[in-house]
């Protein structure tokens, strides 16, 4: 049995853990405010909030795509749909959407309401730019977004006085009519829910974020026993040990991107991972999941390859081994991960003194899109400024995320325009992309060359 709170109702259900939350909400609970419009996490119409208890007992709310979220994964959580927001009065977010005429056909609107509400509950700062980041997975085909932006701006203005960090913000948001009063009781009510279901058997399918798995094979997962990485509190950490960043296997892209160690040691990753996917997916997708799914174009893999990351792989018995990421990908969607093993940690060495890291991604749409080509570079200079080490990764140009070969030849060279040209030529010459929906082979080959030039130019547009 699964136990969670749906809006203001405590739910105990025997549904299969692999049933996606969207189906549970609409078909089992007959709450029709949450809309289905793509079932691939591409549109945001089915956005709900998932509140999970923090260590301090408060609840952390995250907007998630309910079409890719198995109901088993919300055990012990507070799930909020649009029906759980308004009583007789509209909430502040709802009122502002109406005031700014930020809704036309209305099909995407509940999702936008939830994403903006999630922003109020969870954003570190209630600033306009962060509100746009929170809305980057909510597609609207009608309004042209101008009115939605105006509503978001007005929301930030109205909440300018709310300064508390997310964990201490609830009272302020209740009094500002962002969420209803019953939210106050949720932490206690969650604490009273029966404990988590028994651990899954050893043949259970391990689900990290599920945002890719539930696009690929939802019907198979519906019938499978599942084991959820989100329950592994022991794997939910980002820490630093003086030599490297250590990222637990359960850390989401969004947690990673905004974590203090990342901000301190890899400040550009905050922006780089904003391009990874939309907020409603980043809130669920994990860093390890994006590596393990072995997509030849995965942003995390490309970034981590350049950064010379290592994976800690845990066997079912608890025995651990360490594998450099550059040796993890064996072939198209094949990795050095045996049945039952899991990546429990990713180790990212801190940047050497003076090192230059850069990530480039070109996709049809800048945000929430899969790259045609992505590439990262880590250039470590020696004491005289010449290249001591050069790592360049490239995605979308081969069957696996590639760490380009032949870079050792540039050791000792000055990292100027001439070197950039030479690296660019070697990079493009060494890859064999294919024609597909992301672009022609010729385009990808040429594009990689240009992205390598961009690595060296340091010119960000």
């Amino acid at each position: 049995m699964l136990n969670f709170i749906l809006n203001n109702e405590t739910v105990r259900t025997g549904e299969k853990p692999g049933m996606v939350l969207l189906e549970f909400i609409r078909d089992v609970k007959c709450l029709s405010g949450t809309k289905e419009a793509c079932r691939e996490g591409e549109c945001g119409a089915c956005t709900v909030l998932v509140g999970r208890r923090r260590a301090d007992g408060s609840v952390a709310y995250r907007a998630c795509a309910s079409c890719l979220l198995p109901v088993g994964d919300v055990d012990g959580c507070h799930v909020v749909t649009v029906e759980g927001l308004a009583g007789n009065e509209l909430t502040l977010v709802q009122r502002l959407i109406v005031e700014h005429s930020a809704s036309q056909c209305g099909f995407c609107t509940p999702g936008i309401v939830l994403s903006l509400t999630g922003f109020c509950l969870g954003a570190r700062k209630l600033a306009y730019e962060a509100a746009l980041d929170a809305l980057d997975g909510n597609i609207c085909r009608c309004t042209g977004y101008a009115a939605i932006r105006n509503a978001a701006r007005a929301l930030c203005d109205k909440l300018a006085k709310v300064k508390a960090a997310p964990a201490g913000r609830l009272e302020g948001l209740v009094s500002a009519c962002v969420v209803p009063g019953y939210f106050r009781d949720i932490p206690d009510r969650l604490a009273q829910l029966p404990g988590a279901p028994e651990a899954a058997g050893k043949d259970a399918v391990l689900v990290a974020g599920g945002t890719d798995l539930f696009v690929q094979k939802p019907e198979q997962l519906l019938e499978s026993e599942l084991s959820f990485l989100s329950r592994r509190d022991d794997l939910n950490y980002v820490k630093e040990d003086g030599e490297a960043l250590r990222v637990g296997g359960a850390v989401t892209i969004e947690e990673f991107r905004l974590s203090e160690p990342v901000k301190k040691h890899f400040p550009s990753l905050e922006g780089d991972f904003l391009l990874h996917s939309s907020a409603i997916l980043r809130n669920k997708a994990t860093l390890t999941g994006n590596v393990v799914n072995a997509s030849p174009i995965g942003d995390a893999a490309i970034i981590l390859l350049a950064l010379d990351a290592r994976l800690v792989i845990a066997a079912p018995g608890g025995k651990k081994r360490e594998v450099p990421l550059s040796r993890f990908f064996l072939g198209y969607k094949k990795t050095d991960l045996a049945c039952g093993e899991l990546v429990s940690e990713i180790i990212i060495p801190l940047l050497p003194e003076g090192a230059r890291y850069n990530f480039e991604k070109v996709s049809n749409r800048t945000t929430l899109d899969i790259a045609a080509v992505n590439s990262a570079m880590l250039l470590t200079p020696g004491p005289d400024g010449s290249i001591a080490d050069l790592r360049v990764s490239a995605g979308g140009v081969g069957p696996v995320p590639l760490l380009l070969e032949g870079m050792d030849a540039f050791k000792g060279r000055r990292p100027g325009e001439e070197t950039a040209e030479a690296v660019s030529v070697i990079a493009a010459a060494g890859v064999r992309p294919i024609d597909d929906i992301r672009g022609s082979a010729e385009y990808k080959k040429l594009l990689l060359g240009q992205l390598v030039l961009a690595h060296f130019s340091g010119e960000a547009v």
Partner: protein, 750 residues
């Protein structure tokens, strides 16, 4: 005045088809052709029919009436008989207890199709004579003689690509059978009248046994106007099984099997004199229609009528064909052929400007339509607002100063370039098919004073119900909250035209106004009698009866009750047909449009020449909406249309495999998101514009502003040419990052 539906949308309580609870409802799923063209040798559905939860599997043999859903021509069977013409063509219908069970059963259907040669290129189809209908052509003036006088001639070929509607609510319908072989269908559909007719034909029952009810659509944009398959199919199953049945397409089914905005190919020749005046234009259109005619001939007609864009072209030869290829039949999409027609003249003029070494905006301004100009189909223009819009834009955005700033930026930057474009709009309003320009309205007043209005208009987010409500409240003299617009229902409003061509409010608003005027007249007459005065002294204002301007102590609600008791009819039906419209397809001359909507915009882009990526930095838009019934709604319509069109012009790209299969799914078809929209996006409704030809002096707004989006393409082309001088024809639309990159760095660019 806002669209009050928003109060429900934000709470998630507005009801769409799939939100209607129906106990015992079955689910229907279509089995479709995996082959682009072929002969069906055998079809075996026995295993599927025996699968768990399956109620029935139907083929063409089970269709009770006419196996036909062709919109303009009877060329589209509901379920394929012995041949298939495109991948995704319906062959069988599986009905089961759940959609999951139906989908599982689909895999058990065995079909043997002998593949035949298929055609996917419109030009190839045209060369082989594979066209729908016949070639159309009109010659105005003497193009040949005029070309001889031209100093500059721009000649070339162009392409504009297809666009997926991506309405959020996919195609869907719910059918509930009732007594005496009647049926009620709830559908996400724009054409109540036409689909009502299709339903009755396929079920083999008279139309009075079919009730089609439409509350609202989760977006449509034309995609729910003409193709009845997804509404008729579940209705047939419900009719045969005597149980409620619903069908809804998954997103990827919707993308791969429904119609798109038509791709076009163009051959053009544009001639100008030494001063840049257009003397002659020749344009040949190849419309990529797909396997069935669907609504393509009407879309083509619109392109045909708009090839002059916003410009005066004295000598013109326009011709073209509707190409029959083996892809799903394309259909209506916001703009209905006008964006394509306009694109070609804009691209030709921009090409000519490069040849002449002048700025495109100079050429455009010089050739704008003015009062007294005659359009190629014989209409003498009056009240032309093209120049007014342009000048209002210049005042808002400062065209010359912006051009100087762009030039200066480009002079001082090498790895990034800016580009800009000014885009004028001239869009004819009315259905080009004269017969469709009719509407009716039923206004019911109840004894408690509440008013219910029914029209043929379909609410799809564009706010037509809100506008009709405003018209009714204004005309009756009652507060807005006394009026509710009811569902669009074929039992209340029969034979309704589609809600499209931007005419929803024009036609249905006018019919509503007529009905309300007559109803008010009766009530005023009753009140005059009661107060023993003449009708001219009685007014109804804000829900109060006034006699000689003073409150008479009788509220609207009391008036309704008293009138009903006195046996006064509180219901009124009225009809409206747009006057003075005519068009002769033989001579290609006439007056197809009641009036024109105008606009002008300035779009500016920043191009990253290293990566081939770009940002649309700003858009200033002037749109002429006459006297707006609701500025909030109209602003939203303009903003939405502009961004949707920017998507068409830039990132929205569909790819087909060599076998005709749609390769692009939801994860690859990218439409604008909140970060794509220009940071500076200012829309202004043209001030002091009026329009005697539409409801309350307003102008249609749904489609005309779509044209502004062409400016995003033109601005990008402008930036590309700042990087590399080029006076040839313009590249294909959309300008995706890949196309941009290859222009900059591909073989051609080197």
């Amino acid at each position: 005045m806002k669209n009050e539906d928003m109060l429900m949308h934000v709470r998630g309580v507005s009801r769409f088809v799939d939100d209607i609870p129906v106990p015992g409802c079955l689910h229907a799923v279509l089995f479709t052709s995996p082959v682009a063209r072929g002969k069906i040798l055998s079809l075996d559905a026995a295993k599927a029919a025996a699968a768990p939860g399956v109620a029935a599997v139907y083929t063409h043999k089970d269709v009770p009436g006419l196996n036909q859903v062709g919109h303009i021509s009877k060329d589209q069977p509901l379920l394929a008989v012995d041949s298939v013409e495109y991948i995704g063509q319906p062959i069988a219908l599986v009905v089961a207890e759940s959609q999951r069970a139906a989908r599982k059963a689909l895999k058990l259907i065995e079909v043997d199709i002998e593949p035949l040669e298929a055609v996917f290129s419109p030009r190839e189809a045209a060369a082989k004579g594979l066209i729908h209908g016949k070639r159309r052509e009109r010659v105005t003036g003497d193009p040949a003689a005029a070309f001889a006088r031209c100093k500059y001639i721009a000649q070339g070929s162009l392409y504009s690509g297809p666009q997926e509607h991506f309405y959020f609510e996919t195609q869907r319908a719910l059918a509930v059978p009732s007594e005496h072989d009647s049926i009620k269908v709830y559908a996400s559909a724009q054409s109540p009248g036409a689909f009502h007719h299709h339903l009755a034909e396929v079920l083999g029952i008279p139309m009075h046994k079919v009730e089609l009810d439409i509350r609202r659509l989760g977006g449509a944009f034309g995609g729910k106007e003409s193709t009845a398959v997804w509404i008729v199919a579940p209705a047939m199953a419900a009719f045969l099984l005597k149980r409620p049945v619903k069908l809804f397409l998954s997103r990827n089914e919707d993308i791969s099997t429904t119609g798109k905005r038509h791709a076009y190919e163009y051959d053009y020749r544009l001639g100008l004199d030494a001063d840049g005046k257009i003397l002659a234009y020749e344009i040949e259109l190849y419309q990529h229609a797909g396997a069935c005619a669907d609504i393509s001939p009407a879309v083509f007609g619109r392109s045909f009528l708009h090839v002059n864009g916003s410009y005066n072209i004295p000598n013109l030869r326009v011709g073209g064909v509707i190409c029959k290829t083996n892809i799903p039949p394309n259909n209506a999409f916001r703009g209905f052929g006008v964006p394509q027609g306009t694109f070609s003249i804009e691209a030709a003029l921009t090409h000519a400007a490069a040849l002449m070494g002048v700025l495109p905006e100079e050429l455009k301004r010089r050739n704008l339509l003015r009062d007294g100009d005659t359009l190629p189909y014989g209409v003498k223009m009056e009240q032309v607002n093209a120049v007014r819009c342009w000048d209002a834009l210049d005042k808002q955005a400062g065209i010359g100063a912006r051009r100087r700033a762009v030039a200066e930026y480009n002079r001082t930057h090498t790895s990034t370039k800016k580009g800009m474009a000014v885009q004028p709009v001239c869009f004819g309003i009315s259905f080009a098919q004269t017969a469709l320009n009719q509407a009716s309205s039923l206004v019911n007043l109840y004894v408690d004073g509440s008013v219910s209005v029914s029209t043929g208009a379909v609410e799809m987010g564009q706010g037509v119900n809100a506008k009709i409500r405003i018209v009714a409240a204004r005309t009756l003299g009652v507060p807005l909250e006394r009026v509710r617009v009811d569902t669009t229902n074929t039992s209340r409003i029969p034979n309704a035209s589609p809600t499209s061509a931007s005419t929803g409010a024009d036609l249905n608003g006018m019919a509503t106004k007529y009905a309300c005027e007559r109803l008010r007249g009766r009530l005023v007459g009753f009140a005059a009698e009661r107060f023993k005065t003449d009708s001219a002294s009685v007014e109804i204002r804000d829900g109060e009866v006034l006699v000689s301007g003073k409150p008479a102590g009788l509220s609207w609600d009391q008036l309704a009750k008293a009138a009903q008791w006195a046996r006064v009819d509180l219901s009124e039906h009225a009809f409206y047909a747009t006057p003075s419209l005519h068009y002769d397809v033989e001579t290609e001359m006439g007056r197809p449009f009641a009036y024109y909507s105008y606009g002008a915009s300035l779009t500016e882009v920043l191009l990253d020449c290293v990566r081939g990526t770009y940002t649309i930095e700003s858009a200033d838009v002037i749109q002429d909406v006459g006297e707006s019934l609701s500025p909030e709604i109209d602003l939203g319509q303009v903003q939405g249309a502009v961004v949707q069109a920017m998507g068409w012009a830039t990132m929205e790209q569909l790819r087909y495999g060599s076998d005709g299969r749609m390769l692009t799914g939801a994860s690859a078809y990218k439409i604008p998101d909140i970060k794509f929209v220009p940071k500076h996006f200012e829309v202004t409704l043209l001030k002091d514009s009026s329009n005697p030809y539409a409801i309350c002096n307003s102008k249609a707004v749904g489609e005309p502003p779509f044209i502004h989006g062409i400016g995003a393409y033109m601005a990008l082309a402008d930036a590309l040419r700042a990087y590399r001088k080029d006076d040839g024809p313009l590249p294909p639309l959309p300008l995706t990052p890949e196309r941009v990159f290859m222009y900059l760095h591909g073989k051609e660019g080197k």
